[in-house]
């Protein structure tokens, strides 16, 4: 069993997207539980990818390839997992704030969160406050993740938090923020719950926020 797990994990870490389906199928054929493939191979694989990104060992292209590899493997498992009642590790809404069209950082966060087993609702880019509040009320996520690349759009993050308060839902959702111009001081200033410097840290923070 551990050989299957190791091979799948390694394929994700190095982004061997052409091999992953055969590896996952082989593991399923040998009656390894899909939950185990996800929890013992895929999530630790993506954690390792995040760690390598944080330390500058790999860059965005390698991280994207790992995410593509994981998604291909996950596509094989999803129909089986959905037959059971596998629990998600929490629900997270993610978006790039109003006025900002940049999505690579946000997409990496989405991929890493999905790789870590969270249910992620990706609202996309340039999302206005009203739509976001409606979605929070509808989905009732555990965490709301806000991204911005432009310094011009930083004030939008503060607006979202103020609006959550005005709609009396601020205490129902944890807010984490990130993006190139964002830092810890800004996060504290606007009253966010946490700041993540990259996609890997976003996963750690989401885990901590949900664990309470």
């Amino acid at each position: 069993m551990s050989q299957h797990i190791n091979k799948i994990q390694q394929a994700i870490v190095v982004g061997h997207h052409k091999e992953i389906e055969a590896l996952v199928q082989s593991a399923l054929d040998d009656e390894i539980a899909p939950e185990l493939i996800v929890n013992a191979a895929m999530i630790p694989g993506m954690d390792a990818v995040g760690q390598k990104f944080s330390t500058g060992e790999i860059f965005v292209p390698e991280m994207l390839a790992s995410a593509v590899t994981m998604n291909k493997g996950l596509d094989l498992l999803k129909p089986i997992l959905q037959q059971g009642n596998s629990e998600t590790k929490g629900t997270i809404i993610v978006c790039t704030v109003k006025g900002d069209l940049h999505d690579i950082g946000k997409n990496l966060v989405v991929m890493m969160l999905e790789g870590a087993g969270f249910e992620v609702i990706d609202m996309g880019v340039d999302i206005n406050v009203e739509n976001l509040i409606d979605k929070v009320k509808e989905i009732k996520p555990d965490v709301l993740g806000l991204s911005a690349l432009l310094t011009t759009t930083l004030p939008e993050m503060a607006k979202v938090i103020e609006s959550l308060k005005a709609h009396r839902v601020r205490d129902q959702v944890k807010v984490m923020i990130g993006g190139a111009p964002v830092d810890e001081a800004f996060s504290e200033k606007i009253g966010a719950d946490a700041y993540g410097k990259d996609a890997a840290e976003a996963v750690q923070i989401a885990r901590q926020l949900i664990a309470g």
Partner: protein, 336 residues
């Protein structure tokens, strides 16, 4: 030496004679709301109308006191001329490419007359206007997108970077190679229109790609690019590029415009006499959110480190206060 900003800047571009103070330089956009209000010119006019573009750029010299003028406030002039659908934004929003014409990496068709398309004509005319107004007193800087950045706009940034991760490097090389003539034509046309120096913005950015991939996939094209360009050039690449500075030195650009994330002292040590350094006052924390004193201190740090030309690290945030930009000028006025 005459202390007019033009002479100080041009001399520094060639590591020549020093004047009584370091020059300031602004290879990327210095458009902000305060400057728009002071000049009476706003976005999107400053992207679409040559007179408006020149007027806003001129404000950087006449109102703030920078030694250079640079009229391109977006990264979209070339891609618009190549046929991409560009949203030119508004006073509060920078332009953005709405569609990617070559997501499938098929052969790129470059129109013969793309330099005559409105978005390029505006830039060339603005450079000519600026040359007439400030030639000899401020250096006129043009700006062109390098083939790597153009590829982001043609294929979509994430899609382009993914191909590298998937090992499809032939696709990447082919696209970069096909877009080389666009950058070369744009740069040379800008010299002919009146630019003293042209910045080539090519975002092989720290964190986005590795230094190894820069060396393998882009450096050969940068070497070819600088061979085919007629005048002095500045390379602009954002992010922390400390790990690839030694590669930039091989590319043939006269100068490198860099961010605060690269420590000025370390940069001077690595680059030594191979390139001129321009930068590197931090945008988000200092120019936008800091005080004039914070800006002054960072500019003085760069001067003391040996950075030849002082300016913001990248296109400034639209809400940057004018006093903070003036603090850069105040810092250089104190001399070396």
């Amino acid at each position: 030496m005459n202390s007019a900003g033009y002479q100080l800047f041009m001399s520094a571009m060639f590591k020549g004679q020093k004047g009584e103070r370091p020059p300031t330089g602004t290879p990327t956009s210095i458009a902000c709301h305060d400057l728009m209000d002071a000049t009476g010119v706003s976005f999107p006019d400053a992207h679409l109308n040559a007179s408006a573009m020149a007027e806003l750029a001129l404000g950087g010299h006449e109102i703030i006191g920078f030694d250079t003028v640079m009229p391109e406030f977006s990264v979209d002039q070339e891609v618009a001329a190549l046929g991409a659908d560009v949203d030119w934004g508004d006073r509060n929003m920078m332009p953005d490419t709405k569609s990617f014409l070559y997501e499938d990496f098929s052969d790129i068709a470059i129109p013969d007359n793309f330099m005559e398309e409105p978005s390029m004509r505006v830039l060339l005319d603005a450079l000519t206007i600026l040359r007439r107004h400030v030639g000899g007193s401020a250096a006129v800087i043009g700006k062109a997108m390098g083939p790597w950045t153009l590829s982001y706009h043609m294929a979509g940034t994430q899609n382009f970077l993914l191909q590298i991760g998937l090992g499809e490097t032939d696709k990447v090389r082919k696209m970069v190679e096909q877009l080389m003539p666009v950058t070369i034509a744009s740069v040379n046309a800008q010299f002919q229109a009146g630019a003293d120096v042209v910045v080539v913005a090519d975002h092989a950015t720290g964190n986005l790609i590795s230094p190894i991939h820069y060396a393998e996939l882009l450096l050969p094209y940068h070497k070819e690019l600088t061979r085919q360009i007629d005048g002095p050039t500045i390379l602009h690449v954002c992010g922390n590029c400390t790990d690839r500075l030694h590669h930039f030195c091989e590319a043939g650009f006269n100068a490198y415009h860099f961010e605060w994330q690269v420590d000025a002292r370390e940069a001077v040590e690595i680059v030594a006499d191979k390139m001129v350094l321009i930068g590197n006052v931090n945008n988000p924390q200092v120019l936008l959110q800091g005080t004039p004193e914070d800006v002054y201190n960072q500019a003085r740090y760069a001067i003391d480190a040996g950075v030849e030309i002082i300016g913001p690290e990248c296109a400034i945030p639209l809400k940057t206060p004018l006093e903070n930009l003036k603090a850069i000028v105040a810092a250089v006025q104190e001399g070396y």
